[in-house]
């Protein structure tokens, strides 16, 4: 988990956050006649002009198919695509580009592991360990492969409203014939930051393979696969200021050779006969068909943009917002706040007394606030917490405390409106 040192603290203070906001043209607009406040960053982040322009330039100047061409445009497209891969390797400190597979996003990355690795490795009675705070994208792929292979799912419990993993049980759970432990780095509903390195170390002790869902962490804090020590890690471009339709699956070196191919098609082959095919080397072996080339270009620009600010700075900025929001929201009578009070990302989930989450978000929308209400693709967790839905307000570096103050005012109005 990121530590704050006083020198880094200074860095975050030195960033001109207001100026960065100007890089996001979409934020400078009115909705329903009032200024937009975008607080739905956990669903998707906005894109800075540099990212949008990088993709336009690609199509305006360099567009071609990759890898098998020898002409100028094809060379440019190939080198743009492959340098995005190199950048992604740096972004998570993967060391080697062979372990960087481009996918559509976190969901597809996890499905690849479940269907290719899982299918080859799970035997009847094997256990797949998840946590109760997983996103549907880190549950359903495992249910599907568990059914196919007669493996079984078990879950690390969440403690309650303060939303931590009950780690006292982990050791015991890991020893129950577990083959794979898949968990989220940061919860998209609770805001909890899980101690990924610690969890992976424990899993390794038991010979358990690990997958980290970094959808909510990759754009919000430094993510270092060497430090975490996981076997697989997944994240989405659209949640790190990048475009939709692109994401990354990281695969650790020793896993790469053992990972069977998943989708078949162009690019992923070395040689094809009518009845027999040999595979290309990783990462190409796992990328069938024409990839999302422009998406990779946009993701490259997004990673450059984020690391230009510094993800540790972003983390500190957002954490301050999260703490501020938590404090201000606590003032609202009868509000129920979910997740840990600290050691959290810049995200708050809550329930107002007398007002349903969707009524709150509809009302807030008319006041310009983009909030998300619902189960946040965390239905099992919601059921455990005894709620059908929550309101979620998730922040990013272009948000500020002033926006939070205005939100609190509107929430108080809403509370009154529905209480009658």
């Amino acid at each position: 988990m990121p530590e704050t040192t006083s020198s880094q603290k200074k860095n975050a203070d030195a960033v001109d956050w207001r100026k960065l906001k100007k890089d996001f043209p979409i934020l400078d607009q009115q909705v329903h006649g009032v200024p937009l406040v975008y607080f739905d960053n956990a669903a998707t982040t906005q894109k800075p002009r540099a990212v949008i322009d990088s993709m336009s330039s690609y199509y305006l100047e360099d567009n071609s198919n990759v890898h098998r061409g020898v002409h100028e445009l094809s060379n440019r497209a190939t080198s743009a695509y492959e340098s995005a891969r190199k950048r992604a390797a740096e972004f998570i400190n993967a060391g080697d580009t062979r372990g960087i597979i481009f996918t559509r996003g976190t969901t597809e990355s996890i499905n690849l592991v479940a269907q290719a690795w899982g299918d080859a490795n799970f035997k009847p009675g094997d256990r797949i360990l998840l946590t109760e705070m997983e996103h549907h994208s880190n549950i359903v792929p495992w249910q599907l492969i568990a059914e196919r292979t007669d493996a079984e799912l078990i879950y690390v419990p969440v403690t309650g409203d303060d939303g931590r993993l009950d780690l006292t049980r982990l050791e015991e759970l890991l020893s129950r014939n577990v083959k794979l432990f898949a968990f989220t780095h940061v919860s998209n509903t609770l805001g909890t930051i899980n101690p990924a390195a610690e969890l992976c170390a424990m899993a390794r002790k038991h010979g358990v393979t690990t997958l980290v869902d970094a959808a909510q962490s990759a754009g919000h804090m430094p993510v270092d696969v060497a430090e975490i020590g996981c076997d697989f890690l997944a994240f989405s471009g659209h949640k790190v200021c990048g475009p939709t339709g692109i994401g990354v699956l990281y695969v650790k070196g020793e896993m790469l050779e053992k990972l069977p191919p998943w989708q078949g098609g162009g690019e992923m082959i070395s040689s094809v006969d009518f009845f027999k095919t040999s595979w290309n080397e990783p990462p190409y072996k796992f990328e069938a068909g024409t990839p999302n080339i422009a998406g990779a270009v946009g993701l490259h620009a997004a990673m450059d943009y984020l690391d230009g600010i510094g993800r540790r700075n972003i983390f500190e900025h957002d954490r301050e917002l999260g703490r501020y929001a938590w404090r201000r929201l606590s003032e609202i009578p009868g509000i129920r706040l979910l997740g840990p009070a600290d050691e959290r990302i810049g995200l708050v989930s809550f329930l107002l007394k007398d007002a349903h989450a969707h009524d709150v978000t509809t009302f807030a929308d008319q006041r310009g606030f983009a909030l998300r209400g619902g189960h946040h693709c965390n239905q099992p967790l919601m059921r455990k917490l005894g709620v059908a839905s929550t309101v979620r307000s998730s922040f990013y570096f272009y948000n500020d405390t002033d926006e939070i103050d205005r939100l609190v005012d509107v929430l108080i109005q809403i509370q009154k409106f529905f209480a009658g």
């Binding site: 006649g33 007002a355 969707h358 509809t362 619902g374 189960h375 239905q379 409106f417 529905f418 009658g420």
Partner: protein
């Protein structure tokens, strides 16, 4: 004071949601029971329907949904009680037309007209339809010969 919001959350809707009508169980059997589920939000509503031949003798619901779904289900129960199956389905059709088009003509002088504002909030149309779709599903099931109610396990409300 609140623009489009006032259209959506009219006083009668707020009243119906705070004090839902026919918000109770009906014993089953003889009542038919259907669970409606809105996959967009995860809300669930249980509908109880007691038929007398072709006529809705009693109808009631339970569940924790949003203001729109509770108010709409309330209004539905008061609107269809005493109606025949086909009359009830006709009201449903008109109601659906109204919440998607905004045209409240058919319901002039009726409490159901209060829901016409929903059409400006496309993401909330499913809320307004939740109770109605459960009714539709319940009406289309048949009581078995013993007279026991038919319990449809769970009905996902996917079409608006």
């Amino acid at each position: 004071m609140f623009g489009d919001l006032d259209d959506l959350y009219q006083d009668i809707i707020l009243d119906y949601s705070r004090n839902p009508r026919n918000f109770r169980k009906i014993e089953s059997p003889p009542a038919r029971v259907v669970e409606g589920h809105n996959p967009l939000c995860g809300d669930e509503l249980t509908l109880y329907l007691l038929m007398d031949g072709d006529v809705v003798r009693d109808v009631a619901f339970e569940g924790a949904g949003c203001a729109i779904s509770k108010a709409s289900a309330s209004a539905m129960t008061t609107a269809v009680k005493g109606k025949t199956r086909s009359e009830a389905l006709k009201v449903l059709e008109n109601f659906h037309d109204m919440v998607t088009s905004g045209n409240a003509e058919v319901f002039e002088d009726d409490k159901l007209a209060a829901f016409s504002g929903v059409h400006k909030f496309p993401a909330r149309v499913k809320c307004a339809m939740l109770g109605w779709r459960a009714l539709e599903s319940s009406l289309s099931s048949t009581d078995d010969e013993s007279g026991a109610g038919v319990s449809v396990e769970k009905k996902t409300i996917t079409t608006e």
